[in-house]
Symmetry: D3
Subunit: 251 residues, 6 copies
């Protein structure tokens, strides 16, 4: 039994509130236990300079935490005047992950801006961000399809992320909260498609190492959690949008 | 009748959710119509260098908007690497306003950090921030009193803010939303104490001017709205804390 | 009697040297007591990107202090690599105030850059900047009219600014110098047109508050001072330019 | 057969020149094919503020490319005034990887600064940096042991890194050069200890995905290459230092 | 005859107004023709960290131009957020030059901050800055001697600077104004002591070169101008301070 | 005899490795004693905005040191987020010096980017950079001539640089190493063409001064060293390129 009463392979309670804000083309508030992230998707009718004229779209992400998302107050990155390495790493990961399930040609020369703002942090903010951002992006892109601004539905599969780890006692666990994450020997983030293919695997021994056998156990644990996350996304998106995603998967 | 069906001197619906987040010493989610701001108060056990050794506390504020708080996406100030003039002006105003109703000597050498993060903007974000931040600060400081970390209750009066303006047709109105604010000829922010004293008056003709008579009308309108805001704050804080504030006012 | 021998409603000695520098289209050195500010107006033959194609002009201001304008040396903002909140607030105020008395359509797609550089500071630098910048701007814009680069004379009224305050002893005073400003309970900046309309009112209780009655007294004091400032501007500009301003006012 | 004539599981030629520079405590020039990186290790007799008083050491890394390390000239990060997300990600990875094989308590309150400067880039600069930096660090830390500044030899195992990938045609390959890296569907960096334990696994589908079976093949390929890299490190370090590392591994 | 009617070896008119500002310990307004620079000297009662505990003083300089010191408006360095290479070069030169004639041990652990702010530019701003800053510094340091804060008078000689050049037609000229400076083939700044020793020589062929013979002619021209500048400094400082400088020179 | 056994007018051993890197259009590794600098020349097919449409080329330089080029580790300028005054001064010098021997019209609207990266520093890094950069630039520009991308060979003379100084004991010496440079009373950098004309002279008394006679001795010493440097450049470039330079010199 874990610190917060969960089984080793049990996710925390997941809630996805779709259309949480009125201005963005897509928005959700996702809660994974006490971790709460506002994810929005904004459509811009052009691509960055390095992509102009290629007829393809782009997806880029920004990530931030409110100063008191955490136990002690963090200095705002806007006050420091620069973005930390951790933030950059996370926002590159989110953008890269989402691009793996989007048909960028179908989008045309548009940019989807993903913003993930953590309002409360309790571990797993980057995986919650990916899982929530997928839903916000699907709503925003579906909106363009509805408005006939796009010929083909551009999302080719579901995409979600979770963390797995090995605690100091050697136990593999799913969906680490902050206390577990701080003390884990190994921490791995897994981003997967609805079809069970990996998009991103990031495993790190924190002043520690892990074997092939431990890797296998962690990947299994991740898969269990991801299946549940895909169900939550499906419910949050509703049948209409989920059906369109399924259509593209099966092709 | 106004654009959104309100009377000229009618506030938008106000909601103040106290203890909205689990980590900060004080936190609220305030809604003023569609404007929604997360306000937190954090206690730091020291003061900035320029105040050390004076035996007094300090209150400072930061303000930010999520990129999609607005109709079109704003570039994050952390990405730009600098804070805009507008943001600086607002955070200086919030800090200054709150300091007017706090007995800084009672606080001792501590800093109260106020963070106002606008998650949805529809006009009046700075006045909503002040009104919400007052409640978050009262909860946080009361917590220190409860823990016996402070001898005297340090808040000396209620404090709230609202905007008033003169529309292009010359009509004075209370609590401008974004559409009204954009087209108003004159815009004034009024910060007032529960005793009806001004703390800050900022009136601006936007490529326009205003007369003494118009000033008088705007101040009257502001007062009407502020009385209602004080009632909302009182309800959000509950009888125990409100009573302590009343005690200090009457002295 | 005040610290420096003045009556409560007496301005400090005012001097406005027009055409102080040889390069700018308009320039003045304004002295308000020991406060000395170089104000220049520069014409740029285009507007900022957000205004292109609208057929209107723009007026923007920058403000700075020499490091030893003050009693102790200030670190240069160029060395710090960023502009302080106070500076931003002041430069936004100067630009906004001047725009209220300029017919931006008459200017056409041009920007007037106002630079206010304080070479000696003794309180009231922002109000001296506005008063001096108005004169520099009038000279620069009149130059364009003289050169037939502009069809209509674009300044629609005089504009000046002063400060009023309430000292710790409750006395309302006009045109605070640095010593008074530092100890005043309430400080208010008033920007007014020649016709006696307000353009900007900024009243602040410094860890203090003020009543309606005190507000009224301060506004009266400000008006006294502003009448004198308009006379100084008129003398500095000469009859020809002053007459053109009067012509536009009366329409 | 690959673009440059190699077999799928063949590394490029590896050279490690130890003590390449005269000033640093440890330095190497590592070549992996045409990729050439100068790696230095510098000892600082203190730790960063967040670690003071814990009696432990710290290892941190910085990574940079000369502007013409690449086919077309890159703008210097010092000229841009900020470090890119890619650079931050790489330097965090290098530091984290090295810390996994160092007994930080044995080091005492010292920082090892690793600098990896790429003078010529042809793919795999981050893995070459880790492999080279390990050698530079071992030389520097051994120097402290030789001077009796440290009681215990602090390196607990060999550490090297390589990349593996899946080309567009589905073929798994080892040690991708720039041309292969640009076109690979999947790219994975593997950091491993001499004992065959993983320290870091970073697999990314570049607008693509990968299956469990492909993961297994890539890990096997990586292992082949890493065994060869450990031999190169052993040769570059010489018997004395390699023996000390073996001693700590076996405990 | 030159563009402005001067003889080849004739300086422009020089004026040095001592005690131009009320706050700084030393201040002058220097005019060299139309070039006008405010130079101030400020005393700080400590030295920079790298000099603490050595019992010696330090002299450092900052240089800036008002935006409209020049024909067309320059962007403020504080707005750009960084100081240009030209500015850095000039401020390093000013500080280095002044340190050559100051007995840093006599000063004790104090910093003299020199600020040179160009309010009007017409060529030769860096040499005017050095010449003016010397006078401001002498006044400030003499003030400390007068207050008995310093045992020995610390200035060991006069110091002034001028420019010489070779025009496109091969003619050597003294004290170039902006028009001459822009078109000169060779430009040389010479900083010299009252005793006729060089402190700094900076000769630059602007897409051109110069011979030994031309160098000799330029140095002669510089000497002529410098003798006149020393007389102006002597007059600006008055007999009392000049005499103290002479006393130290003769030892 | 000097610290390192050299005669007063003896250079340190010089090596110039041409084509040190594979990507740049021109590259060398230059060693002057223990000072080692990688110099590259990159051709960009456009000029900076301020030169567009003039039909002329531009040459600009950047200079940097690896963190452990020096005895103790320097903080990277990219980490500090700004380039130091010393770096700016050096890169401006390198660019200016090279432009003096290039026929910018022959180049056409192209920019030559020079990058000088010091990998090991032992005094004289700026003069070694100029001497090495000249060779890299000649190779790059000759490449364009070979490709018929340029009608005329654009380099009009050889160009090299060295330092001379006066030690504390009054002895004039050539090519100061770090130890000598740190303790020299006077330090002078001389940039000269193959024809013996000066391009740049920068002499600085370090809290010291120098006479005309000392200047003459230093210039003589510099000339001795420069003759040797021209021979090394000639050997590094080979007869073909050297011959083309000679051709342009003689015209």
């Amino acid at each position: 039994m874990r610190f917060d009463g969960r089984e080793p392979l049990q996710l925390r309670p997941i809630h996805i509130d779709t259309n949480f804000l009125k201005h963005p083309e897509g928005s959700v508030l996702i809660s994974v236990g006490d971790t709460r992230v506002i994810c929005t998707a904004s459509i811009e009718e052009r691509v960055p300079p390095f992509m102009r004229g290629e007829g393809k779209g782009w997806i880029t992400a920004e990530y931030s935490m409110l100063p008191r998302a955490t136990e002690t107050r963090n200095i705002r990155e806007s006050s420091k005047g620069k973005v930390s390495g951790r933030t950059m790493e996370i926002q590159r990961l989110i953008g890269r992950a989402l691009r793996a399930v989007v048909d960028l040609e179908a989008i045309g020369e548009r940019t989807v801006w993903i913003d993930c703002d953590v309002i409360q942090a309790d571990g797993g903010t980057r995986t919650a961000s990916i899982t929530g951002a997928f839903v916000a992006m699907a709503v925003a892109l579906n909106g363009l399809v509805e408005k006939k601004a796009m010929a083909r539905f551009p999302i080719t599969d579901f995409l979600a992320a979770t963390s797995v780890g090995i605690l100091a006692d050697g136990q593999p666990v799913l969906d680490l909260n902050y206390v577990e994450d701080s003390s884990a020997a190994v921490d791995m983030n897994v981003v997967m498609t609805g079809n069970g293919e990996f998009v991103e695997l990031q495993g790190t021994g924190e002043e520690s190492t892990f074997s092939r056998a431990q890797l296998a156990k962690m990947l299994e644990a991740a898969e269990t959690g991801l299946l549940e996350l895909f169900e939550k996304q499906r419910a949050a998106l509703g049948e209409a949008i989920s059906g369109k995603i399924d259509n593209r998967r099966n092709k």
